[in-house]
Amino acid sequence: MNASVDDAAIFARQGLQIAQPVARHVAQPRLSTRFGWLAQYAANAGLGLLLPGLLLALWSVTCQRHWVAEQILPPPAAVVDALYEVVQSDELLTHVRITLFRLASGLLIGGSVGLVLGFGMALSERVKAYVLPSFQWLAQLPVLGWIPLLIIFVGIEEPLKVSVVSIAACVPMSLGSMNAIRNIPRNLVEVGRVFQFSVWQLIRRVVLPAAAPGLFTALRQSVTQAWLAVIFVELLSSSEGLGFLMAYSRSLAQIDLVIVAMLVIGVLGLLIEGALQLLEQGLLGWRRSVF
């Protein structure tokens, strides 16, 4: 837009600024090589690795120059050594297996209880009226709060860990599945009624597919909560598992093992989330959505 001098004067008097034709948000500059897309991908990957690379460099320098005592922050090489050692001695595998077992059993128990409760509350107005307020009230208390009580009732062995993880997984699963079912569009249920579906058919052909996305969100939430719970309870009082490994190494000031355990937890988290996504793709691949 070409503004004349008069316009500029008018605007200036009013203390305003003419909008200059700004460069619109251009698409990212494409590298004009034959393998443009590959170069683009590499550029993005490079940018993404920039920050971790910087942090790694900072870490190495800090340790080399001894700005921090070695007991507090071991150099990256020590972490790699510790990783190698602990993988070799099968110790890591044992701990991982135990943690995963607790996670899985807690998810199974808590998840199924939560699912049943959620279904019940969503499908029956009465059940919801009786159960939901107490549930919401219980959900206010963070799961970790239950632990001292559970320790006194159940001891500190395996039942404690599994029950904590179950409780942690139950709450988001039930609230989430209740919401998922409540958000099913009415017309779908009506179509089911027109076809005179039995309750079982209704559930299998209408409710489950329609609620599936919401159910997956609920599942993701309860997996996150279960992870939090299992790590917490293992840090607090356990004699094996990844959390125990961390607490133990921390008490022995073996921070390199602590970092190894953190990395393993991160990788496991990634794998589990990847598995969930694969599952979701497989079950919900038929969905066509706008985005």
Partner: protein, 256 residues
């Protein structure tokens, strides 16, 4: 305001029933009263606690850490979210690290943090701020991404400066998502406060420490009372956040 007739009495049936069963079970000694204490005992212990200054000091300290960490984490989260949401370069540099670090379960950071920063107040506040950072940043990114292009163009026509862009376009547009994530972050912050107090045992006082003391002394009444207070504070904080959110967003037209 609901009238007395439409008061949802059905929600109270279950808790009152369980409370009655509990009281009966302990009065008739059907259960080991050392483990399953009578509810009256919880009340009396509670009343005893409420008269001690230690209790209030503990609550104030816990809340102080909670709020301090929450504010620090929320500010950092909004700043990070705005930067990542607005600039695609920042997104490509920061997001991978951000999402990778998110995989490591929250409490897994605590041992490393306690090694680097000790078990005192500082590491607790840092931990709480860190726990708040992620949800707030994620919500802010979502909010920034939902700024409508129409509004953006109006801002361009008016020649907004960067600061005006932030204050008058981005933050109000993203406000629903930001406030929603702040509400979630409040719950997470309270959980992180209590968790940090359990794990970073120290000589200072706090609500978590009270519960811990109860556990060590096998004083189930103290534990239960502590849990009650923790739940009450968490619940009222959630309610307060809800009210504030509705109040601040009342300019929003209702969806239906």
């Amino acid at each position: 305001m609901k009238s007395l007739e439409s008061w949802n009495w059905r929600g109270w049936v279950l808790p009152v029933f369980l409370l009655a069963v509990w009281q009966l079970a302990t009065a008739q000694h059907w259960v080991n009263t050392k483990l399953i204490v009578p509810p009256i005992g919880v009340l009396t212990t509670g009343l005893k606690q409420v008269t001690q200054t230690d209790f209030y000091v503990g609550i104030v300290l816990s809340l102080g850490r909670d709020i301090g960490g929450f504010v620090a984490g929320a500010l950092a989260g909004v700043a990070l979210g705005v930067v990542v949401g607005v600039s695609s370069l920042a997104d490509r540099v920061l997001s991978p690290t951000f999402h990778a670090a998110r995989q490591i379960s929250l409490f897994a950071w605590l041992p490393l943090l306690s090694a680097l920063a000790g078990t005192g107040e500082l590491s607790r506040v840092i931990f709480i701020a860190f726990s708040v950072l992620y949800p707030v940043a994620l919500g802010t990114i979502e909010g920034v991404r939902s700024v409508s292009t129409g509004h953006r163009e109006v801002a361009r026509v008016y020649g907004f400066t960067h600061w005006q862009l932030l204050r008058r376009l981005i933050l109000p547009s993203a406000a629903p998502q930001i406030l929603g994530s702040l509400r979630l972050a409040l719950i997470i912050a309270w959980m992180a406060t209590i968790g940090a107090e359990f794990l970073l045992v120290n000589d200072t006082t706090g609500l978590g420490e009270i519960v811990f003391k109860g556990r060590r002394a096998f004083d189930v009444e103290l534990i239960l009372f502590g849990l009650l207070i923790i739940g009450l504070i968490g619940g009222s904080a959630g309610q307060l956040a809800s009210r504030l959110e509705t109040h601040w967003l009342r300019w929003r037209a209702p969806i239906r």
